[in-house]
Amino acid sequence: MTSLLLSPAEQDYIIRGVESGFRADGRGSLDRREVSLRTGMISQANGSARCRIGNLGVGTDVLVGVKAEVNTWAPGEPEDLGSIVCNVECSPSAAQEFEGRGAEEINVELTQLLDRILNGPQSGLDLKKLCIIPKQAYWVLHIDALVLDVKGSIVDTLVWATRAALMSTSLPRVVVETIADEMGNMQAEFDVVDDPDDLTPLEGAKNLPISVTFSQIGKRYVVDASEQEEAVTQARLTVAVSPAMEICAIQKGGMFRGFPPSLLTEILETAQRIAREELTKFDIHYAQAKLHLSSQAEEPSTGSTFLVQF
């Protein structure tokens, strides 16, 4: 994934460090770098969030926007379900290898992963609630993510940002009326209430899973790999765990090799264990982001001002 060049001595230093449980920046195997989270950064969107994982203002940075649209039902589509459409794009300014067509492959990989986590009963979102009138109209949630900077561990940053964006999403109220037409048939009609204050939060967003990505380095694995660590990662596994501690999605990345079965079961158990801590951490960050939003609503959202959270 990265084009970072490391000398054999540096690689050996990182691998041995991971194997002895002491990483190059002093973290333990399961420690995450600092997270900063902000919501409500895009005023035109129904919900948005920006998440950065990294130390001292340098790190992987992802911006996610959620836009809800009303779609008319077409034959062949599910009759009483809404839908979610994901799109992830890596900005060419994030890393040199994303320039030109270089980001295509990773865009597809990340889009598919997000889709795998969110689309389906395991996501916790009730797609039935996104249906307005069966066989007539439904909501489509367009989830657009932009990767602004890459310093390792894109997947987790992406899922954190998406989760926060969906949690902050609110949809306009829809009034459904049943009227009889000239023939006396009952027909349902709907009206989207165009009032910025009359919004309802997205149902079930609190049940969304959180992801933990493990990178196998040497004989052991780490969470939240740094850029250097990703350069020596042999295999990568993303596990999505719901707040009910159920595993919702698994995706393996990294082309070099697979996981030994014993390590795999260990990873799945660890994932469930640390997902609990991660969710608590997420809730704290999300509450802070909400607080920040209400107290400093007028503050312009400038770029990555140094050391200021965003």
């Binding site: 060049l5 054999p8 140094f306």
Partner: protein, 287 residues
């Protein structure tokens, strides 16, 4: 192409101040324009973001962020990016890659040894792509690229540690760039901003075994040594992010102040800011 100018030309005094591109510095015709400035309508404007400096009648702007520009005699750390014919191309954090000629390295087997054709064929056994080298700037090429050399026992391949990248302007040129800190860690302060932090290996050991100069193998590093290396590396990182000069003294100050915290906490905002203020206060006290 015209540049946006955000200030109307006016009489401006030249005090130590921070400017952004397009800021009018002065319209006094007595001044000459130096680096980082341009003139239009008899007014000198800044072309970079930085600090205005004046030497007699010469006005220049020192940028806050810049690439490394080499000078002969600089001690630097570089990364080999390409093996070419009779030379290596080296990333030196500069505008263009530096060059290390095969004739500018010490071949194993002593200084007296003559370079043969077989050496040209086995250049990768000395330095391969990705390797970090500790070198000195020998001269410039016509296009401004740096020519490096490693013709000294202390130069050569780097191992047993980790690289920290800093802003080049934060690493001042000084008498010595290789330091063994009291905590038992070797630090190579490359003037180009690449800083190598490694376990201490005594020079006599390397001198006794010439093979070690081009070795890729790390010595065994214990967990305690790893922790000290990580602590020093994190200290350098935080000095860099908070824009504090990186010298052996500032690193030692940061290291001493950091002992109250665990290594992984050093890069969190609150701790980093506290430590940087501590270091700056101590540096001022010393000066």
């Amino acid at each position: 192409m015209t540049m946006e100018i955000d200030e109307a030309p006016q009489k401006v005094g030249i005090a130590a101040r921070i400017v952004t591109p397009g800021t009018a510095i002065t319209n006094d015709p007595a001044f000459m324009r130096g680096h980082g400035t341009f003139s239009e309508h008899d007014t000198i404007y800044s072309s970079v973001a930085g600090v205005v400096e004046r030497i007699n009648k010469l006005v220049s702007v020192r940028p806050l962020k810049q690439r490394y520009s080499g000078e002969i005699g600089d001690i630097i750390v570089g990364r080999i990016t390409e093996v070419a014919s009779k030379r290596w191309r080296v990333d030196v954090n500069s505008r263009q890659d530096g060059v290390l000629l095969l004739s500018s390295i010490n071949l194993p087997g002593g200084i007296q040894r003559r370079k043969s054709e077989s050496d040209e064929l086995q250049m990768r056994t000395f330095f391969a792509e990705g390797d970090l080298v500790f070198a000195e700037v020998q001269s410039y090429f016509a296009d401004g690229a740096l020519s490096l050399h490693t013709r000294s026992i202390q130069y050569g391949k780097l191992r047993n540690g980790t690289l920290v990248t800093a802003f080049p302007q934060l690493v001042p040129r000084s008498r010595s760039h290789f330091h063994t800190l009291p905590c038992g860690v070797d630090v190579v302060l490359g003037v180009n901003g690449y800083i190598w932090v490694s376990k201490h290996v005594s020079a006599s050991k390397v001198e006794a075994n010439a093979e070690l100069i081009y070795s890729d193998k790390n010595e065994p590093i214990s967990d305690d040594e790893r922790e000290v290396i990580a602590r020093v590396a994190n200290c350098i990182q935080l000095l860099n992010r908070l824009y504090v000069k990186i010298t052996d003294t500032s690193i030692i100050f940061a290291y001493e102040a950091s002992l109250a915290h665990s290594v992984k906490d050093l890069l969190t905002n609150d701790v980093a800011v506290e430590l940087a203020h501590n270091v700056m206060a101590r540096l001022e006290q010393q000066a």
